[in-house]
């Protein structure tokens, strides 16, 4: 037996004006789960505590709660000392019990044909991973889209794809999915990352449904424009100024000793819209001993096409990009766009290693910049944090140059084709970001993704800067101070 302190969210709407937290000291056995700690509270301390559970073995999806802010199944997650247990971010009925039914009702059901041909083994294998969902609604509770716009939610989309694949179903699931908000998903990956069954809803369900929608001619017109642009120019956004690739030589040598060489995959946004930021990054790399090779013939990574289900042209892009780096014998390709990095890592079969610039810089270890008298908050790009698992490295860099104030990691609304396809949703999510930014009291916002930077910039009056730009400012300040001293 061991003792632990557990802090639990309590709220009885009939007697309490507002929720409060209560702390309990519980005794549980070795290896006890969160659920067992709740049982202990109910049996030994407070029989009035309400929570849901049934199977206690991860199969029914009744007991999902937030533990230390993350949705988990209470029956499967190990109890830890000091844990904070809250209900999912869904309408609360009492204590840890949330109202699940309205969300469960949104999940479409199979309408069988008269003749029901069994799905083939191949189709069964495609459907099976989608069917392992236990409808715990962890995904729904973290989905940013359905908080601001009509969207049936991640798990409803999962089942819609299953029905679309099942030969026994008679519904027009793809058209229904479009109606139910298929194009409102920002591909932020939050749903997948909290799924206890590890169902990759954005990649394996939503993007597939969008591809089926594309076959039916249901792709949003604005997404079609992007696809056309990629075909015609190799880039997913227009050029508005001299591009990055036009401003740099093919090889950038570092200022000092060469500590490493990377190929640089610039991506459409940094090339066409934010070349200044990419140039800042080059300076930081050169200062830290990185030789950068920049193949000119590189094109769009294809992410805007994959996320919107327009995959016909994808293989051409992939081949051109892979060839561009392989031809130069490059073994490490660096990305600085979170979207490109995630795509190269997860959607490509690359014959070389792909690293984000934050990984490169923390791996070599950077020259310390001067500290700037600024308070900054950091916006985690979804495709960096969840798409590539990069969370600590940006913080490690930022805290060397400014004071960092954290804010919750929530999608800004620019991804998944939402910024172009459903601008009102993108704006609503950015507004939520603005509010969170305000709360931190930060002077500037730092991020590490051109889509996030560009989008948040439009919705806050605080300066929004790339990590490398801030590092460069730190170096310039350091140089200035050094000069000052010398004078």
């Amino acid at each position: 037996m061991r003792e632990m302190t557990v802090k639990v969210f309590r709220f009885d709407p009939e007697t309490d004006e507002k929720p409060h937290f209560q702390t309990y000291l519980v005794r549980v056995n070795d290896g006890a789960r969160v659920l067992h700690a709740l049982h202990c509270i109910k049996e030994d301390h407070d029989p009035s505590l309400s929570y849901r559970y049934c199977c206690a073995s991860g199969q029914c999806g009744s007991c999902a709660v937030k533990v230390n802010g993350e949705p988990v199944l209470a029956c499967m997650e190990e109890a830890t000392d000091g844990m904070v247990i809250e209900p999912l971010d869904l309408p609360i009925k009492r204590d840890l019990v949330v109202d699940m039914e309205p969300y469960l009702d949104q999940i479409a059901t199979l309408v069988p044909a008269e003749e029901c041909p069994l799905p083939t083994q191949d189709v069964v294998e495609q459907i099976k991973p989608l069917r392992s969902c236990i409808e715990c609604l962890a995904c729904v509770s973290v989905c940013p889209a359905l908080k601001v716009i009509d969207f049936s939610g991640p798990t409803a989309m999962r089942e819609s794809l299953r029905l679309a694949l099942d030969p026994r179903d008679t519904g027009d699931r793809v058209a229904e999915a479009v109606e139910d908000g298929l194009f409102t998903c920002t591909s932020c990956q939050a749903c997948w990352k909290v799924c206890p069954k590890d169902i990759q809803i954005p990649g394996k369900a939503i993007e597939r449904l969008r591809a089926l929608a594309n076959e039916k001619g249901l792709t949003l017109p604005r997404h079609q424009t992007v696809e056309k642009l990629v075909r015609e120019t190799g880039r997913s956004v227009d050029r508005t100024q001299e591009t990055f690739l036009e401003q740099v030589p093919e090889v950038l040598e570092p200022y000092g000793e060469v500590k490493g060489t990377v190929g640089f995959f610039v991506g459409c946004m940094y090339n066409n819209r934010l070349p200044r930021t990419a140039l800042d990054a080059m300076e930081v790399l050169r200062r830290n001993g990185i030789r950068v090779i920049i193949p000119r013939e590189q094109v769009c990574c294809g992410s805007p096409l994959i996320r919107t289900g327009q995959i016909d042209y994808l293989n051409t892009l992939k081949r051109r990009n892979i060839d561009a780096f392989v031809f130069r014998g490059i073994d490490t390709v660096m990305t600085m766009c979170a979207g490109c990095g995630s795509t190269l890592k997860n959607d490509y079969d690359c014959p070389f290693r792909v690293m984000d610039i934050n990984e490169v810089l923390t791996k070599v270890g950077i020259e310390p910049p001067a500290r700037l008298e600024l308070k900054a908050t950091y916006h985690d790009p979804c495709h960096l944090m969840r798409g590539q698992g990069i969370r600590t490295q940006p913080r490690e860099l930022i805290s060397q140059v400014v004071d960092l104030v954290e804010m919750p990691a929530i999608c800004c609304g620019s991804g998944g084709g939402v910024r172009s396809g459903v601008p009102e949703e993108a704006a609503a999510l950015a507004e939520d970001r603005r509010i969170e930014i305000e709360k931190t009291g930060a002077d500037i916002v730092i991020s590490s993704c051109p889509f996030c930077e560009y989008h948040i910039m439009e919705h806050t009056d605080k300066p929004v800067k790339n990590i490398t730009t801030v590092l460069l400012e730190g170096y310039r300040e350091k140089d200035r101070r050094k000069k000052e001293k010398e004078c």
Binding site: G31, P47, Q59, C60, L110
Partner: protein
């Protein structure tokens, strides 16, 4: 009497597992149907947790006669012959229904439903959806249910059946806020599942508290063979608080080996022919014996090993097991599981006809709450089939019940109100009583039993039943009622066990020596009702 919300229907189905939903679907073709669930429909009950599979004869090389004989042999010849015959005959049709409604079972390359071997069967006839077969069925049934007009009431517990004279005419429910809801119906179907939560170590979900046995018994129904409790051979032993969690028979079906601490495949000594795939009663006793005789692990289990199987097979056929054990720190691809017996399924229950009619007019039953189908030991894979076969039959019969005008018995509702009011004045935490009961049952009415221990256990149950349960608030009222149901169910199990003075199937009396084997036992069913109890005699043909 206060005024209550009264919900009228032709058919009332109590329970939302595989049998309940199947019954509701079928009943809905005949009239207004209401289904009441103690949980959120689809999440509670044990169907959704059932992992291994569904037995049905689907191949020409197999036969219903063989399935029948396997079921009888596995059931130690205590099965009601007619019910067992119906089970095997109807099972293929009912899986066809599920497939038609969209169930995603594993299929072969030839697009036939895949089948795997399970214990006690001469043919691999267990159909499966990986190791989440019951969950797949439940999802499918809920889809089908959504296409009917069945009205579903979630998170309402039934605390008593309503009587109109001698017949059942609905039920009294209690919602999550502790308010009484009256359900009035021409026909009422009990599909409340099992009750092995009366044991300290159990595979059952939170709803496996024997509510239906208790409700039926109090309404005057006759129950049979309640002593027949299946201990599943393989329940998890670690972590302690999750002890009893089911480790599916599919693990052995896929080739898993049982070994003791010395690495010996001990089944060789108990059933050399069928080894790990012997029937559950035999395997459970073998494991219990190994542990009792000191050849168990330090966590009190034996090893169940799949490390010799191809990793891919473990990953695709047993993904839930893999995931669960990984969560608890064991990668079953590389290390053996530790397992020990766990209370699983109650074979006994309400006596039913082939149409699911109980001995009380107006009351029907299906699924685990009924007795007779599985005799003294259920074959793995027969329970899911049972839910569908008898769920449909009970739903159909209930649907055909004649319409009648029902007068509400105010006295009975008053009684329930007083019962609830008494909980506010009670003194004992129901959770404490449940825990004492579970320990007493595990120790005194477990795998191995004796007359004197059973008597002692019954005394304990009777004592616990006299305690005044305390409801801390309105949300605790349901728990108090549930603990009363557990006490009643436990009493039925122990009284049945005292009545059956022989070892048969899952019921082992160490204090009885007998000169017969199961097939020519002089005893038939034990029976228990409010007015009578005993054991039937006579050798079956």
């Amino acid at each position: 009497m206060r005024s209550f919300e009264v919900i009228d229907s032709h058919v009332l189905v109590i329970g939302s597992g595989g049998a309940g939903v199947r019954a509701a679907i079928e009943a809905s073709f005949s009239g207004d149907t209401v289904m009441v669930s103690k949980t959120i429909a689809g999440k509670g009950g044990c169907t959704t947790m059932a992992e291994g599979g569904y037995n049905a004869v689907l191949r020409e090389t197999d036969s219903c006669e063989d399935h029948f004989l396997d079921t009888l042999k596995g059931g130690a010849y205590l099965n009601d012959r007619e019910l067992a015959r119906i089970l095997v005959n109807d099972a293929p049709g009912r899986i066809a229904d599920l497939l038609c409604w969209g169930a995603v079972f594993d299929v072969t390359g030839e697009c036939e439903v895949a089948q795997r071997p399970f214990g006690g069967q001469r043919f691999p006839r267990t159909c499966y959806a990986g190791d989440r077969t019951g969950h797949e069925m439940m999802m499918t049934l809920l889809d089908r249910l959504a296409s009917t007009d069945v009205e579903v009431f979630n998170e309402i517990a039934i605390i008593d059946l309503l009587k109109d004279g001698d017949s059942v005419a609905g039920a009294v429910g209690l919602d999550e806020k502790g308010e009484i809801v009256i359900f009035r119906s021409d026909a009422t179907v009990l599909a409340t599942g099992g009750g092995s939560r009366i044991y300290d170590i159990s595979t059952n979900s939170s709803s496996g508290t024997g509510d239906g046995f208790a409700l039926g018994y109090r309404a005057g129904a006759e129950l049979i063979d309640m002593e027949q409790v299946q201990f599943h051979p393989t329940g998890a032993v670690y972590p302690y608080d999750a002890r009893g969690r089911l480790v599916t028979e599919a693990v052995r079906g896929e080739g898993g080996l049982l070994k003791n601490i010395e690495g010996e495949r001990f089944m060789e000594r108990y059933d050399p022919e069928r080894m790990e795939l012997s029937t559950r009663d035999v395997v459970a006793r073998s494991i219990a014996t190994e542990i009792l005789e000191g050849r168990g692990t330090k966590n009190g289990g034996v090893y169940l090993d799949v490390t010799h199987l191809p990793r891919h097979q473990v990953e695709t056929r047993l993904p839930v097991m893999l995931e669960q054990f990984l969560k608890f720190g064991v990668d079953i691809r590389d290390e053996p599981m530790e397992v020990a017996p766990t209370a699983h399924h109650i074979m006994g229950g309400l006596r039913i006809s082939s149409g699911g009619e109980t001995s009380v007019p107006g009351l029907y039953a299906c699924g685990e709450v009924t007795g007779g189908v599985h005799g003294a030991n259920r074959l793995g894979g027969n329970a899911l089939a049972d839910t569908q076969v008898f769920g449909r039959r009970a739903g159909e019969s209930a649907g055909k019940a004649r319409k009648r005008s029902i007068s509400l018995d105010e006295g009975q509702i008053d009684l329930q109100e007083r019962r609830l009011a008494a909980f506010y004045a009670g003194e004992v935490n129901p959770a404490t009583v449940a825990r004492s009961l579970q320990t007493a049952m595990w120790e005194g009415a477990g795998i191995f039993r004796t007359g004197s221990e059973l008597e002692k256990t019954l005394e304990m149950i009777n004592h616990l039943s006299t305690l005044n349960l305390k409801a801390a608030n309105r949300c605790n009222l349901i728990e108090c009622c549930t603990v009363q149901n557990m006490l009643t169910t436990a009493s039925l199990v122990v009284r049945g066990a005292i009545l059956r003075k022989e070892s048969r199937g899952a019921h082992v009396r160490k204090d009885v020596t007998q000169a017969w084997d199961a097939s020519n036992s002089p005893y038939r069913h034990t029976f228990l009702s409010l007015c009578d109890e005993g054991i039937e005699t006579g050798v079956w043909e």
